[in-house]
Symmetry: C2
Subunit: 342 residues, 2 copies
DNA sequence: TTGAAAGCGCTACCAA
DNA sequence: TTGGTAGCGCTTTCAA
């Protein structure tokens, strides 16, 4: 079922039919009666324009490349859902690549996006690679780049919310589980935590800081990190984990070591993924509006595509606000821990 | 950077270059020296073939349509990850549509897949819609269809594993939370449960059966279902939930009603999604090899595409085996419950 | 061993 | 108001 067949069937030129069916402005000069006839025939013969051909001709594919670390759980999935909803409602298709932090995939992504002629690229939780002149939007990218819109959480605010909460509960000796070194938020978040700690007069000695050794979205990296932390120090009454899964892993490790959460130690997660609320004890955490960040990224792409030619060269940051979600893993520092701090 | 520019640059015909770069068999008759020259130039000038043009010409797009209920958590995400890994390793791209069980989206999906000229379609957890002659693979589709390969769990075996486990712990009075009515596994699973119950001599009176009222992947539908169940009957010592999130919702509802799991009631989940292990108490559940089901679906697609012409007309079922994962939410029936059953 | 040219299905320019 | 036609970038047949 191509335009040619339809044209033969209707006795009209392919040009006329194309104009009507693709909603071209030139269709205004075609009488309503003819238009109706065309629509009817298209419906009846079940005609679907071939988007490959249209894309080739128009030089745009109505598709957007999306590069994410993973889909199977948590962070990326929430963002991706927001992106998918928004872009597919606008008629776009995603060319999705998951990289699992592997260099080869990241390198190959550029080639794939170029071959598929995507109109724009969205990078989620990934350090920026080069995509030439393709309009680019990033989510949680650590650095700014000319012409790139970056959707980021206000990490300073997030760290402040978390630490103020712990401080107000009497916690002075904080331990931190930093993110996996390749995760895009790791450095930025850490700097914000240092700043907030300094502001509140909380110290963060080296032995109370550990780092996730894997990006794996299970509790294991958090479990290992906590083991290591407890080996280095016992002088903490609260732990701030890089994300919710790590927090849960940490809780498991402490339980196995005979420590109760929140009785002995308070734990703070990050992200507020779906199971944070469902976990027992339910997780106190800092919510990132992940779904909305996906929507914002998609909208930024759509905006860029709606005004072609206007090559922006300055970097734009869209900052979203975190939210403190207080649940069951944080409570007032025990007398003992408070005494230590004094 | 098109073939034409490359051709001009090399002083060779587009035909020759195309043959070499696309790995056509006809390239064998081109001397290695020339081939090397072509590869070098392509690399140097950063040439990427336009896949839109190639697809148009070849009549195949190296893309596969994937229709899933949702991406943000659990079931679909695990399957999707398996599909994505396998197909992207084979050079395919996904055209992904999430339908959230909405009829309009399901209807529109056919049009989108046709327009994007996907080579095949994979439907996950979705009742089959019509995709004409496009090679189709389904995951957990309730019915069989001519020419369609269906990847399914052995539900009879799954129900038997679960019920035998509960039976062996002394449970006789079982309650069941059926799946959301639109979920593709609901009916099939329910029939298997009835069969297994009959086999073991366990009864399933109406008042001990409830149904999820939403497909939402949170604990709320399970919470509501359990509330309703407790309103209808208290004569059960074990609950078999349709999936893990529902099981967790049910546990919450029982806790709020003063019942302890597993002390008073045993709970059995389904799927073994990531947080089932992490939840406290950790969930006894029937594991579906979701990731592998995704891989199998993708492989079935690749196989179909590798042997064109061979139109299969008989339905093929690929049956995968469930696995009983015993954790902390099931234990021996209390004396009281056992006495009631006697 | 290499090249010329047709044509995949569509859109957009120019002409009528 | 409508139609003819060139051409998007590629592959592949046929000819040399």
């Amino acid at each position: 079922m191509s335009l040619r067949t339809l044209s033969a069937h209707l006795g009209l030129s392919m040009a006329a039919i194309s104009r009507v069916l693709s909603g071209s402005p030139a269709a205004r000069s075609i009488p309503p009666a003819t238009q109706e006839r065309i629509f009817a025939a298209a419906r009846e013969l079940n005609y679907r324009p071939n988007l490959l051909a249209r894309s080739l001709r128009r030089g745009q594919s109505t598709s957007v490349g999306v590069l994410i670390p993973d889909i199977s759980e948590g962070y990326s999935a929430h963002v991706l859902a927001g992106i998918e909803e928004t872009l597919s409602a606008a008629g776009y298709t995603l060319v999705m690549i998951t990289h699992h932090y592997r260099e080869e995939v990241l390198a190959k992504s550029e080639r794939i996006f170029a071959e598929r002629a995507v109109d724009a690229v969205i990078l989620v939780g990934t350090n920026l690679h080069v995509y030439g002149t393709t309009p680019t939007v990033t989510v949680s990218c650590p650095d700014s780049h000319p012409g790139v819109t970056n959707i980021v959480l206000d990490h300073d605010r997030a760290a402040e919310l978390a630490l103020r909460h712990l401080y107000s509960l009497g916690h002075r000796n904080l331990a931190v589980i930093k993110g996996y070194k390749k995760s895009s938020d790791t450095e930025r978040r850490w700097q914000s935590i240092e700043r907030a700690a300094a502001m509140l007069g909380m110290t963060l000695p080296e032995e109370r800081v550990v780092q996730l050794d894997d990006e794996q979205q299970t509790n294991e990296p958090g479990y290992r990190a906590m083991k290591k932390l407890m080996h280095q120090s016992r002088e903490f009454s609260a732990v701030f984990a890089f994300n919710d899964v790590a927090a849960i892993g940490a809780i498991d490790a402490m339980r196995d070591a005979g420590l109760d959460v929140p009785e002995d130690v308070s734990v703070m997660g990050f992200d507020d993924v779906a199971f944070a609320r469902v976990h027992r004890p339910s997780l106190t955490t800092v919510r990132q509006p992940l779904h909305r960040m996906g929507v914002l990224a998609a909208n930024a792409v759509l905006e860029k595509l709606s005004q072609p030619g206007e090559k922006q060269t300055d970097e734009v940051e869209v900052v979203v606000e975190p939210e403190l979600i207080v649940r069951a893993t944080t409570r007032a520092a025990t007398v003992c821990a408070a005494a230590e701090a004094a």
